[in-house]
């Protein structure tokens, strides 16, 4: 649509009036005007904190003491800090394992929910529960489940005679890592499952029928029809899932606070630990900024994964 048609001649108008007149006729002017509120919001609440964080990373600011610019000193320190590298390892391990599990279990759940099973809508609603419960609440529930004395898992296993003493879920480094991953997976599955279910429902039933008539077994239908047609949605869902997992904070903070001996410290929790309780705002900010390259890599990966496939291009419908 073109809005550049010459306005009707209004020689007697005041110049002020004609400015608004021109603005209301200008596509670009109006576009900018309408974007202004969102832009202001983003500048105040996103760009400013991000910029401040990046700046703090180059200073030695402590709580209660404005710092001075110290260049890359924080980063040089972190480079030699074994706890920092441990947290990097933890974060990557946590993200990788949790994302793979969430994807596999989420896809499995989505496929089950896409079948004609009784009470389908009920199950679809129930599946969302872990996602809608506030994280802190579900983390507290897991805290009890993983309790060193009152854990229900330990209790059940002991009643069954499979173990003789309660499992030390959150006290042993590897147990703790796996426990928090399990909690994260439990919480993250609904998002993956529901999104993939939505994707599955966009695949026309006639494609499966055609494939069945073409002689495909159910595994071949999944492998050659469902999975390729689902890839664009998988790419979006898993990007978000990876970003959520990588930046996870609440679950870890409630369950382990990064312990035992930093075994479950993620970069996000370490950043908070050093910056707020530890008071070293500059150093905490530097850790947070160090997450950026990883997140950018994840986004770029999905960007190329998300690029429209050749089969999605062209054509009119």
């Amino acid at each position: 649509m073109s809005v550049s048609a010459a306005p009707p001649p209004r020689a007697t108008r005041a110049s002020r009036g004609s400015f608004f007149e021109r603005l209301s006729q200008s596509r670009n002017g109006l576009g900018l005007l309408f974007m202004l509120p969102a832009a202001v919001f983003l500048l105040c609440f996103l760009t400013y904190p991000l910029g401040l964080g990046a700046w703090l990373g180059f200073t030695d600011t402590m709580i209660g003491r404005p710092g001075v610019f110290i260049g890359l000193e924080n980063y040089e320190y972190l480079f030699r800090d074994r706890v920092f590298w441990l947290s990097v390892f933890n974060t990557l391990f946590y993200t990788a394992i949790a994302s793979i599990l969430k994807f596999a279990l989420g896809l499995w759940l989505a496929i089950i929910l896409n079948e004609n099973l009784p009470f389908k809508t009920f199950f679809r609603a129930v599946i969302l529960l872990p996602w809608v419960v506030p994280t802190v609440l579900s983390a507290l529930a897991f805290w009890w489940i993983y309790d060193s004395q009152f854990s229900i898992i330990s209790w059940v296993l002991m009643q069954a005679g499979l173990i003789s003493a309660p499992i030390n879920f959150l006290g042993d480094p590897w147990n703790a890592r796996l426990s928090v991953i399990a909690a994260n997976v439990w919480r993250g599955i609904p998002f993956v499952a529901i999104s993939l279910l939505a994707g599955l429902q966009t695949i026309p039933a006639s494609l499966h029928e055609a494939a069945a008539l073409d002689g495909a077994t159910s595994w071949q239908r999944f492998r050659r029809i469902t999975l390729p047609l689902l890839t664009p949605i998988i790419a979006v869902v898993m990007t978000f899932s990876v970003l959520f997992t990588f930046t996870d904070f609440q679950l870890i903070y409630v369950l382990t606070k990064g312990g035992p001996v930093n075994a479950t410290h993620l970069m996000a929790t370490l950043s908070f630990q050093r910056g707020i309780p530890g008071g070293a705002l500059g150093e905490g900010a530097a850790i947070a900024v160090a997450m950026v390259p990883f997140l950018l890599a994840a986004i770029l990966f999905s960007f190329f994964g998300l690029q429209r496939r050749k089969w999605q291009q062209g054509g009119s419908d």
Binding site: A212, L213, D214, G215, L229, Q312
Partner: protein, 352 residues
């Protein structure tokens, strides 16, 4: 290739019966069209033959084999869907070769089967394209190509032309018929369009409400419809139906409810005193004669003129070969060829 038999086939969704005992025999190599209004169960019947719907009762046989419990992939049939159901992420060549790929056929084997099929359908230059890049007619051809490559026992078509525009529909009609004459594979084709049925079928199965109304060759259905439903469904424009009784005086003429007298052939089977329906196809009405008709609408097509008029209080459609120069509202005189008239029992709808 194989014959197909439906033996007292039934289907119900819960308590709701949609197929109520269907018996059809389809000869090897025959082109059979299931036709009927929407909701009559024709597509369900086709999907039962394909194995996409469970069979609630009766038996379906392909050749000598009962296929009730045979999964679709083992029935050796190919189906063309209404929305074509092309795999969007595969090229035309891969779409056509999909069944062969699943079987683990070699590259050269795939090529020797896909290439001739593509040639038959004029798809050779499109083999590298994706479905999105094709027009409706081309997609339709790819769907048919995918079926041809299979070289199945039976071809199934589920309203394959309903997504195409009118012109393309006519040319694809010819193409499908031509293809069948070439391949002579048993074909079952579903449509709600009686013109498609008339022009393409060896045998038409007219269905209504889960039952078969009549089975026969196209012209047989046209000339000798079993009942009012078939008479009204087959033929375009539809047969004119006038309600009335035999002339009580001599029983050799028909008198409509509003007193118009219409001719009957001697030896008709109407019984005096019962309510009857007088059926006359539009082309059985000719210009000139004893019956006055008021013209309501004239639709000249060049080759012929279709006239909607009123005889007494009943609307009547006529097709005249002559070019007319009358205006709406004028009166013309027409006659009806008594030999081409059908009489139906108004109560049962059966042709007498």
């Amino acid at each position: 290739m194989a014959s197909v038999d439906f033996v007292d086939v039934r289907k119900s969704f819960g308590a709701h019966a949609v197929i109520k005992g269907v018996n059809v025999h389809i000869d090897d190599g025959e082109f059979v069209i299931l036709v009927g209004p929407s909701g009559c169960g024709k597509s369900t019947l086709l999907r039962m033959l394909a194995g996409l719907e469970h069979i609630s009762g009766g038996e379906i046989r392909i050749g000598e084999r009962a296929v009730n419990d045979v999964p679709p992939k083992d029935r050796d049939i190919a189906m063309v869907f209404q929305n074509y159901a092309l795999y969007p992420h595969m090229s035309v060549a891969d779409n056509m070769a999909f069944s062969l790929t699943l079987k683990g056929a070699s590259k050269s084997e795939i090529e020797t089967k896909v290439k001739p099929a593509a040639e038959i359908l004029g798809l050779s230059h499109l083999l590298d394209r994706y479905p999105r890049q094709l027009s409706g007619g081309q997609r339709q051809r790819v769907a048919m190509g995918r079926a041809i490559v299979r070289d199945p026992q039976v071809f199934l078509f589920d309203e394959p032309l309903s997504n195409l525009d009118a012109k393309l529909r006519v040319s694809m009609r010819t193409e499908i018929k031509n293809l069948h004459q070439r391949l002579t594979t048993t074909t079952v084709y579903v449509t709600h369009d009686q013109i498609e049925a008339m022009t393409m079928a060896d045998k038409i199965v007219v269905m209504q409400d889960g039952r078969i109304e009549q089975i026969g060759a196209p012209l047989e259905l046209y000339d000798r419809p079993n009942n009012l439903f078939v008479a009204g469904f087959i033929g375009s424009p539809a047969m004119n139906m006038l309600h009335g009784r035999l002339d009580p005086a001599d029983g050799q003429r028909f008198v409509t409810g509003d007193g118009i007298v219409l001719p009957l052939a001697p030896g008709h089977r109407g019984t005096p005193g019962t309510d009857l329906v007088y059926g006359a196809r539009p082309e059985a009405i000719h210009l000139g004669g004893p019956i006055p008709m008021e013209v309501i609408v004239i639709e000249p097509t060049g080759f012929e003129s279709q006239v909607l008029g009123r005889i007494g209080a009943s609307n009547v459609t006529c097709v005249f070969r002559e070019r007319l120069s009358v205006k709406p509202g004028e009166r013309i005189d027409v006659s009806i060829d008594p030999a081409a008239v059908h009489l139906f029992d108004a109560g049962t709808g059966v042709r007498l």
